[in-house]
């Protein structure tokens, strides 16, 4: 085997080439493992967060404003009904770190955060209008609805909020209705009467109190 030094060079070349291939495959493996993103977890977490803060969700008073009472009552099965992608998954929902819903223990999974306000309503505030003296009631800004209770036989035909007619009956009102008010300005409630008005009109409302919070949703399917 004289003069076959080329063979030795060839074998070394093969060894180097094999080494390069192995290194390449190792890098490709690592890249592929890194690319595993769990899009389903992310979809479920985004869906839960979006559905919870949507304007038409049972947990909100408007978009991105959670109703404190509804949030307190929230449980995992309600979340599942509201958001089918969360079915069977480990879910943790917190408001500024305080747990709201905690089912299973999500190890990893996807996390989604939303900036929300939590609206708490105060105890009912009662104000009455003396129909015979035409007094008015001023409802503060931020109140979007109020209950108006007109006593029977008070001869009140009209109830106005900032001049807008909210209740009317030509032959005297006798009702207990919820009326919608503009939350963007204070509302003045006054009555219109026919003949000799007597008795009272009671206006009841709850003042909303809002607090900014961070809603965190973790879902691990």
């Amino acid at each position: 085997m004289r003069g076959q030094t080329n063979l030795a060079a060839l074998v070394i070349a093969f060894v180097l080439l094999t080494g390069a291939t192995v290194v390449g495959v190792t890098f490709a493996d690592a890249a592929l493992a890194d690319a595993d993103r769990n899009p389903r977890d992310r979809h479920a977490a985004t869906a839960v967060a979006d559905r919870l803060v949507a304007a038409d969700a049972p947990t909100t008073v408007r978009a991105n404003a959670l109703a404190a009472a509804a949030v307190d009552d929230l449980n995992a099965s309600q979340v599942e009904t509201l958001v089918p992608p969360a079915k069977g998954a480990a879910v943790r929902i917190t408001l500024d770190g305080e747990p709201v819903v905690d089912r299973g223990s999500p190890a990893g999974g996807a996390t989604v955060r939303r900036s929300v306000v939590v609206v708490t309503r105060s105890e009912p505030v009662r104000r009455s209008i003396n129909a015979s003296r035409n007094t008015t009631v001023r409802v503060p800004r931020g109140v979007d609805r109020a209950a108006v209770d007109v006593e029977p036989a008070s001869n009140v035909t009209t109830v106005r909020a900032n001049g807008r007619v909210v209740l009317y009956d030509g032959s005297a009102l006798e009702t207990n209705e919820t009326v919608h008010l503009s939350p963007y300005e204070p509302s003045t409630i006054r009555t219109g009467t026919v003949g000799n008005a007597t008795g009272r009109v009671v206006v009841t409302y709850r003042r909303p109190h809002t607090e900014p919070r961070i809603l965190t949703v973790i879902v691990d399917a």
Partner: protein
């Protein structure tokens, strides 16, 4: 010693043989084991993401409650997954991806408001995919076309 003239010929022949063998074995190993595995892993990931992207797109095309809803949006889907065309169908509030390869098929629940009464239709991966939302304040239909 006339044989001595053969030495370089045998040597070169041996080298050529070795190179061919090496290349053949490398191709066999890569195409036989590593590449199909990567292809499947990548295809599974693409399939998952396609399904989730399509679902996201459908969910975000539902506008806030309003008296008349008329929304048309295009959805970008990959033409093929693992070199095969596939279909995306809506069945019972779920989005189903039908792929010739069962391991690349999948299903995903859609998160839609209560006023969405129906989601129906089918997308073919090699046709333009459009989502249409029609309805009013109380009833909204979602059509995949």
């Amino acid at each position: 010693m006339t044989d001595r003239a053969l030495t370089p010929v045998v040597g070169k022949g041996l080298e050529v043989l070795l190179v061919l063998l090496y290349v053949a074995s490398l191709v066999t190993v890569l195409h036989g084991g590593v590449l199909p595995e990567y292809r499947t892993a990548a295809a599974a990931e693409v399939s998952d993401r396609t399904l989730v992207t399509a679902a996201d797109r459908i969910e975000s095309s539902i506008p806030p409650s309003s008296t008349a809803v008329d929304v048309t949006r295009t959805v970008a889907l990959p033409d093929t997954i693992d070199r095969a065309t596939y279909r995306v169908r809506a069945v019972n509030g779920m989005l189903v991806l039908d792929h010739p390869d069962d391991t690349l098929s999948g299903r995903l629940s859609l998160a839609l408001p209560d006023r969405v009464v129906a989601v129906e239709g089918t997308w073919e991966s090699d046709d333009p995919a459009v989502v249409r939302v029609r309805g009013d304040a109380n009833r909204v239909r979602v059509i995949l076309a």
